[in-house]
Symmetry: C2
Subunit: 310 residues, 2 copies
């Protein structure tokens, strides 16, 4: 039995896991992400933690397939990080740097892409080798899996579906500088933006006028048929379906797996996106399946481990 | 030295080639495509032609890597054709059917995808394993190559970039039934549509008012700074760049190769699309290279042969 380490580097903590080759998580733990001094301590901290764990368990190099790492930035097929703003990192070879530290096989990828691989392996996309994952959080992340492998892209920007252009009339700029990005509508922040715009033209009463405007409150109210919330949820579904239709037309995936905070709204979300998905998608891709992510915060460590187990 | 047969099935002729494993075309020829009776003769005709060629050259099964086939329809990873309207074909396994006929290894793909593989192997995308090809003809075809392999999609519709939605305000329906598809603007037919719309609002003289409105005449006149033609060409470039920006944001390819009749306009086309490409693409993909297709009508037989040589 081979084991693999899965590492998911976030802005405040590094999630780490030791997995069996079939995908069971033997143990998972966290260490703080020390971002000071351009994040110079992050990799040595991870390396120490791995060495300690191997010693603790009496593991040798031969027992492990290696270390997979997901990082919040653009990472290419060779494990080169182009930039990871939240960690203070600029361009360097993450894979080689870590290999020197731990003397194990290392692979690295973008965190959203790595999480997608985790969901394809043992989560919402299980059994599907061609999958698109979309993560609806503060922003919109994406990951494209083709033939069971991540599409990293030449400069590590593969799967950046949050920044496809879907609306010509957007006055606000996206965080990336463009206008009308998918993320501006389909993220948790996007739901709130759409809510404010709908509320400006809504003259009746709504529970949303008496509580904090969050994606959770909006979808909860929509489930209870609050008129304003239903309008907002439908608008959200329109944009979500429109953006995913473009991705599906290009990739023709077996399944689109939806994760991230907004996906807690559940299958309602799939019902909401379907009309505009069907309107905009190429007819040959109409049978695209939809599913919800299942691994939650473990998707990253699972996908990271999978990279070295393949 | 291994040889491979490359077969490119069109609506009126089947282009066939015998290639060396390094990609040199030893010989190429054509046979008619007999589409009557739901195209029942097409594969037996191809099989006979291959057997005759092998006999003529004294080739044995051991001399060949097999037969690659590009067909004008949706074809999945297993060689299943879902439909090929121009040939009269409905769903069947093209790969297995042909294998039974010729007793050789067979692979099959969609013609636009197969042509993209040809261009990636020895044409405009040579040296690049992650490439997007767009073919600007009567329609807009596309082919996505990731790690040197075609992305066929689960129902053979991978790379159908002609049908991504890029314009909300389009009153006309696309051939696919949707409104505002990339193909409605970026095809040769699209240039003519854009020309007619610009002409309706143009009150000065132009050479285009005295000749047939074709994409060739429009780009020729634009090169001579005809004011109307320049407006049309810029509008065309706007849409071409906008659609390709979406594809690049999802795939982050090394290069986008442009082929098809409209690409005869040459590098002008790349200059025309660049402003809107840069406006709409995710910043991490700004360095995407552009190139022109080089293989012309041979792209199909080359890509087809490559499928079985891999």
């Amino acid at each position: 039995m081979k084991y693999a380490f899965g590492v998911d580097i976030g802005g405040t903590t590094v999630k780490m896991g030791l997995l069996e080759e079939e995908g069971d998580i033997v143990e998972s733990w966290e260490i703080p992400t020390r971002t000071e001094n351009h994040g110079i301590n992050i990799l040595p901290d991870i390396a120490s933690s791995i060495k300690n764990k191997m010693e603790e368990r009496g593991m040798s190099k031969a027992d492990t397939a290696g270390v997979g790492i997901g990082a919040p930035g653009a990472v290419d097929d060779n494990g080169v990080v182009f930039q990871a703003v939240n960690l203070g990192w600029t361009k360097f070879n993450l894979k080689e740097t870590m290999e020197d530290m731990v003397d194990l096989n290392v692979k690295a990828g973008n965190d959203a892409n790595v999480a997608a691989l985790g969901e394809a392996w043992k989560g919402g996309g299980r059994g599907h080798s061609n999958m698109l994952m979309v993560t609806l959080g503060t922003g919109v992340g994406g990951g494209v899996i083709i033939n069971g492998k991540i599409v990293n892209g030449v400069t590590g920007s593969g799967g950046e579906i949050g920044h496809i252009h879907i609306e010509d009339e957007e006055p606000n700029a996206c965080g990336c500088g463009n206008h009308g990005c998918f993320e501006q509508y389909a993220s948790a922040t996007g739901v709130v933006l759409l809510a404010k715009r709908e509320m400006a033209n809504f003259e009746k009463d709504s529970v949303l006028l008496h509580e904090e405007i969050t994606s959770k409150n909006i979808f909860d109210a929509a489930k209870k048929n609050d008129e304003l919330a239903v309008k907002i949820a439908q608008k959200y579904g329109y944009y979500l379906g429109k953006g995913l239709a473009t991705c599906a037309t290009i990739l023709n995936p077996e399944i689109i797996v939806i994760g991230g905070g907004v996906s807690k709204a559940g299958t309602t979300l799939i019902d909401l996106l379907r009309p505009s998905f069907e309107k905009y998608v190429f007819k040959g891709c109409l049978d695209t399946e939809f599913g919800l992510a299942k691994l939650g915060n473990d998707a990253g460590i699972c996908g990271a481990a999978k990279m070295v187990l393949d």
